[in-house]
């Protein structure tokens, strides 16, 4: 395994590090960038749509399709009985069923799929099927599930030090709990797949998925085919955010089943309401904590329990709750600590990956702890945060990975100086004294996010690079483009290796027959893994070209440079296209695969010790808000961010990721509420009732800067992953809102305000603070009376 270290020549015209525009931008703004639903349908193509259970829980008695023959365009219906291969499509552990066969596990669970001539006919037919279920009571309350110890996977915990000793030594002690809301991905392009018959009984599927290889694998298993008979193609997604990591597969598999049955192309696209009902969300969590701390607010003991509401099946919940555990420390050193993670089963759709993958739900607990401790001690929360930061000597995480790069402290200092934290804090205290209705709040929160899949084997990637003899370059890699600009970054990397203009490098759709056995594009790892694999592939070809030039022109290899679209060697130069042509005629192989696997990482889950993360990405956000204490209406007025992406591969794309992640995180913590009825039915099933941030919610002042640093590890051009970490910068919004409400108590009470902090949640926090003030006044009065006596 080669791990490349390439130093950029600052004198050359580098492609890496430039704010290159998104590879599809010009097509996108003209409506010419095709998504799966835009493809011209093959002749005779059909449409499939799932038939849904009317209830959340019970025994499936019958599926009555007798009404379907009267529906025009109806072709056929398939149920679990039509599955020839595996019926369980659990990605890691079994439990996720493709079509319910006996038991109904959640409301609107698919029990069959109907096929018809048109999309509309398929939807009408699906609704005409009568599904009879012997209904039993659904259980959708996470606390009840917790009490009943109803798990989708076993509990797990790790610890460091001895919390009993820690608590015993602690002068102060606090307990708390936090319900954290889930989140619908709301990718603008809903779930979709189109399956077509292929050669030799095989199948070809276009699918909007972050994980083509898994879709391929599952289709093969369900249809009873070898993987080489199934090909998945994915050019671009209209957003994914984790929601197309495992959740894209069922629809592709159903389309493939229908294609197999009819011998015709079949498209399955979920309408928005069904996309809401049938696909998993970010896990809601119910977390509890007890901390012991000293007069400075330093945590001496922390006992943290994170409880993920997993829905009905395991899906990825094991790893997601693990990641919540791995991030319940955030940037803070707990002297003695125990972290427990539990995976609660409830009768809803199975919750899944979403940007941050449990990290946000763990990290916000750490922030709640910091604020609670600060209010208790009457300190500025920023001082408590700083007192707890990892630092040399206090550098071991609860899972025994050593923190080796201490940039968060300097980042906080830089941001607070540039954005004038202390001046603004003072101004806000003064403002709040004279403003009885509108209160302002301010908060600084840091982020430390571990980069690597925690399942070690997933940390691998492949790429394929061809140089054609006209000098154009073809690039393919195992990652998927969902808007994050992965293709653009990998193009930049390949162009950089060959020293050519980026326009020479074309990227083609991700295909399982080009690069096999890929991991999902997830865990922020897309550029780290695929960029390295492409770098490897391109460098292999470049090395051959160097050998060729060295021999052809009898020059030393180290005199040969690829720069500015040409190759320069001692005594001469060649245009890149000319070189490609010469090399072709000299019968030099101009194509190569590349492979990469992340070094250094391991984790012993039994011991709860190891180095699950190759490195950490960091960020700091300073957020100011306004709250209307009569209604709970609120506004994020100013945000300053300093974020660490190492040496940025593309600052424009990186800043785009940071801004977008921040606003998405803000939505999670403020306006986005998932509302399930007690019977398990989801009531927020579209943008009319589920409110993601709109354009007016973008902070008026929104300044994002990249922190000047480089990755201490050998990552691709010393960059750092950027997809997920900045999502958690939005924790500062929640803390600032809570800060605004706490001002009513002169910052001595930390009101309960479980996210999402809707206007209603905030008004309730205001109410709770007023109750606290009244009780305190009564107590003070009683004390005075006692004193007087």
């Amino acid at each position: 395994m080669r791990h490349f270290e390439i130093k950029l020549n600052p004198a050359a015209k580098n492609v890496v590090g430039q704010p290159v525009k998104h590879e599809s931008a010009i097509a996108q703004v003209q409506g010419k960038a095709p998504y799966v639903d835009d493809a011209v349908l093959p002749q005779g193509a059909l449409h499939a749509y799932p038939v849904l259970s009317p209830v959340a829980k019970g025994k499936l008695l019958s599926i009555d399709a007798s009404a379907l023959d009267a529906i025009s365009g109806y072709v056929c219906m398939l149920t679990a009985a039509d599955i020839v291969g595996k019926k369980d499509i659990g990605p890691v552990h079994p439990g996720d069923v493709l079509l319910a066969e006996n038991e109904i596990s959640y409301h609107a669970q698919p029990v069959a799929v109907v096929v018809a001539e048109s999309y509309e006919q398929a939807r009408i037919a699906a609704r005409a099927v009568v599904v009879e279920v012997e209904e039993t009571a659904a259980q959708v309350d996470v606390k009840t599930g917790l009490k009943n110890q109803d798990w989708v996977r076993p509990p797990y915990s790790f610890e460091r030090g001895d919390i009993d000793t820690g608590f015993a030594a602690a002068p102060h002690r606090l307990q708390g709990e936090l319900s954290v809301g889930g989140q619908e991905h709301f990718y603008l392009e809903g779930q979709i797949a189109m399956a077509m018959p292929a050669e030799e009984g095989g199948i070809f599927v276009k699918c909007s998925t972050q994980h083509p290889s898994e879709v391929q694998h599952l289709i093969a298993e369900v249809l009873g085919l070898p993987m080489n008979a199934v090909t998945i193609e994915m050019r671009r997604m209209g957003g994914a955010f984790g929601g197309k990591e495992t959740q894209a597969a069922p629809w592709a598999i159903l389309a493939a089943m229908a294609c197999r049955k009819t011998g015709r192309a079949v498209k399955l696209r979920l309408a928005r309401a069904e996309d809401f009902k049938l696909t998993g969300k970010r896990h809601p969590f119910f977390n509890r904590y007890e901390v012991g701390f000293d007069d400075q607010g330093r945590i001496l003991a922390a006992d943290i329990e994170v409880n993920g509401n997993c829905g009905y099946s395991p899906d990825l919940s094991d790893s997601i709750v693990d990641r919540a555990m791995f991030h319940s420390d955030n940037c803070y050193f707990y002297e003695n600590v125990r972290v427990t993670g539990q995976r609660v089963k409830v009768d809803t759709v199975s919750h899944t990956a979403f940007r941050g993958f449990g990290g946000p739900q763990g990290m916000i607990t750490a922030e709640a702890i910091m604020d609670d401790v600060a209010r208790y001690l009457g300190k500025d929360p920023l001082d408590v945060r700083k007192a707890n930061l990892y630092q040399p000597g206090r550098d071991l995480t609860p899972y025994h990975q050593k923190v080796e790069q201490f940039v968060v402290g300097p980042m906080i200092d830089q941001l607070c100086a540039e954005a004038e934290y202390h001046k603004r804090r003072q101004a806000i205290i003064e403002f709040n004294k004279t403003s009885p209705v509108v209160k302002k709040g301010l908060a600084v929160t840091p982020v430390k996010f571990g980069i690597s899949f925690t399942a070690q084997h997933l940390n691998q990637a492949g790429a394929l690079v061809h140089v054609y003899y006209d000098g154009s370059i073809h690039l393919n890699h195992g990652g998927t483009e969902m808007g994050q600009g992965l293709n653009t970054k990998v193009r930049q990397i390949v162009a950089q290796v060959f020293g050519v203009n980026i326009d020479r490098v074309g990227v083609s759709a991700t295909r399982t027959d080009k690069v096999p056995n890929t991991s999902a594009t997830a865990a922020s790892s897309g550029a780290d893994l695929n960029g390295m694999a492409a770098l490897n592939a391109a460098t292999t070809i470049k090395d051959r070209l160097i050998d060729f030039i060295a021999e052809e022109y009898a020059v030393a290899k180290d005199s040969i440079h690829f720069e500015n679209d040409e190759v320069v060697y001692a005594g001469g130069s060649l245009g890149f296209a000319e070189l490609a042509k010469k090399a072709y005629f000299a019968r030099i192989g101009l194509s190569s695969t590349g492979f990469y696997s992340t070094p250094k990482i391991y984790f012993d889950r039994n011991e709860g010790k190891g180095r699950p993360f190759f490195y950490f990405s960091h960020g700091v956000a300073l957020t100011e808000v306004e709250v209307d204490t009569l209604t709970g209406e609120n506004c994020v007025t100013a945000v300053d961010v300093l974020h660490d992406v190492g040496k940025s591969l593309n600052p424009a794309l990186d800043i785009g990721q940071i801004e977008g992640a921040f606003v998405q995180g803000m939505g999670w913590l403020t306006t986005e509420q998932l509302h399930w009825r007690d019977n398990g039915e989801l009531m927020s099933v579209g943008p009319a009732t589920y409110k993601i941030p709109a354009i007016g919610d973008t902070p008026k002042h929104f300044d994002v800067k990249l922190y000047d640093s480089e990755n201490p590890e050998y990552s691709v051009f010393r960059s750092k992953a950027v997809g997920e970490p900045p999502f958690m910068l939005a924790n500062s919004v929640w803390c600032a809102l809570r800060d605004a409400v706490a001002s009513i108590s002169d910052y001595r009470y930390s009101p309960p305000m479980s996210p999402p902090a809707l206007p209603e949640t905030i008004l309730n926090a205001v109410n709770a603070t007023r109750v606290w003030l009244n009780e305190k006044a009564k107590a003070d009065q009683a004390m005075e009376t006692t004193d007087a006596e």
Partner: protein, 482 residues
């Protein structure tokens, strides 16, 4: 048959289902797949198109949700899609329309799926505003477009940047000139054989049709009715569209008050109404999105009788009168008698709302309009409060109110009005009024808010009103939508 212009191409269309949306037609029948389906419910803006229409001799372009617009209503109009903005087949950056170029240069597209919709909203802004109109107007115009990737900042920047290039006209201008100057078929309509889309060209024709086909669905702006087709998959036999009935679009005013034609869109009647009742601006500026306000009408909102429609509470507090017409004649219905129950009104099967009359502002009239929702923009109210009274020698008289989200219909708070009527305008009396709201309402808990919140917020809004009237204390957060 209907006739319209699609980008540069004249189109004649006949054999089409009356409930087919412009979005589905574009995507399945024309190969123009640039217009995207994000939600098919008018809430995300991914399908935004720009539609040109000749009114009073001048062509106006506005942005609309293609998913809520029925194909039949395109008759006589110019439909512009994202494909229509650039002439070159393989355009380079510099050859793009300024709107598109700005979006690329500001890195405003990531996944790109919402991008065509944004481009069209921005194009509408570009057509209607000759120079950068300021950030607030940008936000107002783009509030109905959702983006999940960017956080919107680069898109806001692009809206400023697009004015920095030389101003260009779109490639379709010549075709549009020609189209708007030719004579179209005088008897437009659509039918797929079984089902019919009627396009009456006059009020007389409309009432005759409604008399003959009393079960027919009347469609005005379609911002709510279309959901029956796209979400509930209902198949209407007959649809009668009111879009071409010019008599229903007039807005007139005299010393008695303001008469708003049932088919005047929000954008069309807002200036006339807000001139007299500027306090209602928050209500209308936050009603739906720009796309919705460009399509929705007062007649449609009232006939629909949703408990959460925002205009009705205002009309209740202002003592408005609904004018209805049918072949048998016309009559007026006071707004407080108009709603009978959840989505039920006094309208008879053959009747059509022709206009809404709003009395002239009274001397010393105080008015408060407050909308509360989870999100400031494009959100349905969890609570809407409108309060009106005359302040005569510091006494509150003629107290009227209208509340949304508090009951099965938009409704006035009678107990509160009784408590206030004739009393001094004082903090104590406003507090008493707020307390009386508990006798007026037993709101429900639903996906938007709990019963408790709804009631407490209404009471707190009374406090807000008092503070606004009696002190200089800040009562609102500084959001762009406020």
């Amino acid at each position: 048959m209907i006739e319209f212009l699609l980008n540069e191409q004249p189109v004649e269309l006949d054999d089409v289902a009356p409930t087919l949306s412009v979005l589905d037609w574009l995507r399945t029948k024309t190969g123009l797949t640039g217009t995207k389906e994000g939600c098919a419910s008018g809430d995300c803006g991914a399908c935004t198109v720009v539609v040109g229409q000749k009114e009073n001799g001048k062509v106006h372009y506005k942005h609309l949700n293609a998913c809520l617009m029925l194909v039949g209503s395109l008759h006589g109009k110019h439909l512009v899609t994202v494909e229509g903005l650039t002439a070159a087949a393989n355009a380079k950056l510099e050859e793009l329309h300024p709107v598109q170029r700005a979006m690329v240069e500001c890195h405003g597209s990531q996944c790109g799926f919402c991008t065509p919709g944004f481009i069209m909203s921005m194009f509408s802004l570009y057509m209607n505003e000759p120079a950068f109109p300021g950030k607030d107007k940008v936000i107002h115009a783009l509030g109905g477009n959702l983006c999940r990737c960017t956080g919107y900042k680069p898109i806001i920047e692009a809206c400023e940047r697009m004015y920095s290039y030389p101003r260009t006209t779109a490639p379709f201008m010549q075709a549009a000139d020609k189209f708007f100057n030719c004579t179209l078929c005088s008897n437009p309509g659509l039918s797929d054989g079984d089902r019919v889309f009627y396009l009456p060209q006059s009020l007389r024709e409309l009432v005759e049709l409604k008399s003959s086909y009393s079960q027919a669905k009347l469609v005005a702006g379609g911002t709510d009715l279309s959901l029956e087709f796209t979400q509930q998959l209902k198949l209407a036999e007959e649809v009668i569209s009111l879009v071409d009935v010019q008599e229903l679009k007039t807005i007139t005013e005299d010393e008695h008050g303001l008469k708003i034609g049932a088919m005047a869109t929000y954008e069309q009647f807002m200036p006339a109404l807000l001139k007299h009742y500027p306090e209602a601006s928050e209500l209308f500026n936050r009603l739906g999105s720009s796309q919705i306000r460009n399509a929705g009408t007062l007649g449609g909102s009232l006939a629909n009788a949703s408990p959460i429609g925002d205009p009705a509470p205002l009309l209740l507090a202002l003592d408005a009168v609904v004018e209805v017409i049918c072949e048998r004649g016309s009559r007026v219905i006071p707004i407080n008698e108009f709603f009978l129950g959840y989505r039920r009104t006094q309208l008879h099967e053959d009747e059509v709302i022709s206009a809404v009359f709003i009395p002239a502002r009274q001397a010393d009239q105080k008015l408060a309009c407050y909308k509360i929702s989870k999100r400031m923009e494009d959100d349905i109210s969890s609570v809407l409060l409108v309060l009106s009274f005359q302040l005569v020698e510091n006494r509150m008289v003629n107290v009227k109110s209208g509340f949304g989200g508090m009951a099965a219909t938009p409704v006035a708070a009678e107990s509160m009005a009784q408590v206030m009527e004739g009393k001094d305008f004082s903090e104590h009396n406003i507090q008493q009024a707020a307390a009386a709201l508990t006798a007026d309402f037993k709101p429900m808990s639903d996906v938007r808010a709990s019963q408790h919140y709804r009631l407490q917020v209404c009471q707190n809004l009374m406090q807000r009103f008092w503070l606004e009237q009696s002190s200089g204390i800040a009562t609102r957060v500084s959001h762009a939508a406020l």
